[in-house]
Symmetry: C2
Subunit: 455 residues, 2 copies
């Protein structure tokens, strides 16, 4: 199939139809009216501003969350913005279907209206990056810049977004670290079109620094500082924010996600296929057959999932998996890989290891001969020998992996995420076996299909 | 038992009796006469000088090898000393029972006479350390100094020698690295008596530098240089040679042997016993029971012993055992210890390992994303994933220890001693089993009784 033919097949599935457009327009009009009325009624000086993909008309069909920002004048004190912003958000949300208060840098209101998620976020009504005071303020500038520069390439953004989703690299959440919506838009604007982004993947890898708004000429000092800082941090890509020369839009993009884009773009160019946009579900296989094929072992910890949002839970699970891996490496098990996640109320950490049993006795290094402790070590141990100036003796150790893990957890020898610590310490420990609901995860992990760039 | 009682019991067994003394005296007189006559007959200007324990009357009963040095005037050219020395040695040996030529820094003659080994070694007739030109010259000075300073404490030297032999730390050969006869004599002279050496073991450890002849006052610059150089080298003990301030008599003493003396002296003081001088044979046990107890595995390589003297063979076996250990550690086996040796025509290397089987598939790190090789690695491997900026893939590996070792040897991936390389490459490889003649060695190794300081 040719690239153009693939695009022709994909576009109708991702471009919102007339009916959906009309619904979205109506929704936005209603929300704007409600917001203006409510602000007037409460005497709060804030203007509604739509940001995000709806405002830029780059949303994918069926995917139309609303970001409605409540923009306060620049001279509003931060405390007042916080207080009045929440008050206004709540008052607006009262007229919608339901809502809750969520917390980021500042509290904001997360509501639902006509089946659509509506975030009501207070911010400053900034005109330039020099005005930016809170983390969300920049969104207003992003919106303006994209509207000014997109030039009708909205469908190219949709294609690239869908491509990113299809290959699993879309989303800037901390547990994804992929391409954000804004970064997707910038890539299209920078390269020219969806096809250009794909074709220029090699160039994008080699260039490393993209400067869509020409900051390096207009603000050389400030933007070079950004380039230097980000290079130092070792990121795979630097895209100087057209709305703020101090910022790298790709700061949170991981090497893994960038690498996947790089290889997949190459594969797609060689053999364009709709499957890149809408991948068939990964075929599963038998995790126990994988264990036999590889001759490795699977350690699984199952425990109660604490009620936390993904942004907080997943990094803690990752930290715990890494902590467990480090502790076991110290105990001379080799760790080949790890995974973590949850399903329903159960969270899990999985490690792939070289063995489940080890020697019963190991060598314990003691003090050096000249030290005060030498005689004590000699006295306390049954068999003592020297290698060079150091004393050694035998030490009995636990031989079974499950015993070793229980013991490490009991003695607090594992670095664990704060909110999952208690759960993990009471976890069920499984060896080379998982319950049915985890079988697919276990297979995708052990086979590495989960991360297989070629999968 | 009290220390004095132990000495009373040990002395009669190690002090040569009247008959043995008479025999030794006669032997020395005869040898001296033969040497003088032969030198005269050949017109070679060299004087016979007895050195070593016979000359100093510090030999143990039944242990009376003769060191007969042939001392040439200082103005003899080195080449002439070499040539005439060997000629004279051979001519003397012709009148003894049998002989062969041996090689050290210079060739010398090793003869036998009346059942006694007689070394005929050419040297310079030095009067002071400033005259020393060849490695053996110093022996003459050692002899003189000990004769001048021993003051009748010959039996104390005998006791200490026997103590050192009993606990297994006597001998300065490169594969022993224990206490030499001369070092034993110096310790007695320095400390006062056998009992004093034992009692002052803690002091000797802490002092670290012993200066029996007061060189640090008489030749401060030269002897301080010796102390600095040896400290830098990290030796356990520095004994400035009374016969040469540039030399540390204990330069070749290993930490292991010094440590053993230290702990054994402490034990002996606490509980004096004849067993320290004449230890009962170490009880053997079952090596296979040891393997079960420890949960470890024994790898043995058996091969033909090349015809080499211990001085050359044993260091090569050690190097080979270490090379094998390093190569296996790289393959992710843990090595807990190693041993080597020979019996008859068969040499062996033994390693104790954590396991004999490992996973079949391991993780192969690939290039980084930005490198030229990245695309190639992606193309060539079936499953490829990234961790940070690096690519990874699976790699099949040999799972059985014996296969791994054969493979390593075949691919020349093991650093081996020069003269044993070919033998080891054709070695029999045994796992958790040794032939009967090696059972005792295997037990002493696995149980660490071989090196057990408390054994």
């Amino acid at each position: 199939m040719k690239l153009e033919d693939v695009i022709t097949q994909v576009l109708p599935r991702i471009r919102p139809g007339e009916e959906e457009r009309a619904f979205v327009r109506r929704l936005m009009d209603e929300l704007k009216e409600i917001a203006i009325e409510t602000a007037e009624r409460l005497g709060i000086n804030a203007k509604p501003r739509f940001v995000g993909s709806l405002a830029k008309d780059t949303y994918l069909a069926g995917d139309h969350d609303v970001d409605l920002f409540l923009a306060f004048p620049l001279d509003t004190p931060l405390e007042a913005l916080r207080e009045k912003g929440l008050e206004l958000g709540k008052a607006i949300a009262e007229r919608l279907d339901s809502y809750e208060v969520a917390y980021a840098e500042h509290p904001y209101v997360r509501a639902r209206y006509r089946g659509v998620k509506v975030d009501l976020v207070p911010c400053y009504d900034v005109k330039s990056w020099r005005d930016v005071r809170t983390a969300v303020d920049r969104s207003i500038l992003h919106n303006l810049w994209v509207l000014d520069n997109l030039g009708g390439r909205n469908d190219d953004v949709r294609l690239l977004k869908r491509f990113f989703k299809g290959i699993g690299v879309y989303g800037s959440e901390i547990y994804v670290r992929g391409f954000s919506g804004y970064l997707t838009e910038l890539l299209v604007i920078y390269a020219g079109s969806f096809a250009d982004v794909i074709e220029k993947h090699e160039m994008i890898l080699r260039m490393k620094v993209l400067d869509p708004a020409g900051w390096l000429r207009r603000e050389p000092e400030l933007s070079m500082k950004t380039v230097e800082r980000e290079s130092e941090a070792g990121v795979p890509l630097i895209v100087i924010d057209p709305a703020d020369p101090r910022r790298n839009v790709a700061a949170n993009l991981s090497w893994e996600k960038f690498g996947k884009f790089y290889f997949k773009a190459g594969d797609f160019l060689k053999k364009p296929d709709v499957g890149f946009f809408f991948p068939p579900e990964k075929p599963s296989g038998s995790y126990s057959a994988e264990l036999r094929r590889k001759g490795t072992h699977l350690l699984t910890l199952l425990f109660e999932k604490p009620e936390l949002i993904d942004d907080i839970l997943l990094p803690q699970l990752e930290r715990s998996a890494k902590g467990l891996a480090r502790a076991l490496e110290k105990e001379h098990f080799r760790v080949f890989g790890m995974d973590y996640g949850y399903s329903g109320e159960r969270a899990f950490v999985m490690l792939e290891l070289d063995r489940w049993e080890r020697e019963k006795v190991t060598v314990k290094p003691g003090p050096e001969l000249h030290t005060i402790r030498a005689r004590d070590f000699y006295r306390k141990n049954e068999r003592v020998w020297m290698e060079g100036k150091r004393l050694y003796a035998e030490k009995r150790i636990r031989e079974n992996l499950v015993d070793v893990v229980s013991d490490l957890l009991e003695r607090n020898q594992v670095a664990l995420g704060k909110n999952v610590r208690e759960g993990i310490k009471r976890a069920e420990i499984l060896l080379d076996f998982v319950p049915q609901w985890l079988e697919r995860d276990a297979y995708l992990f052990l086979s590495r299909e989960k991360w297989n760039l070629k999968g």
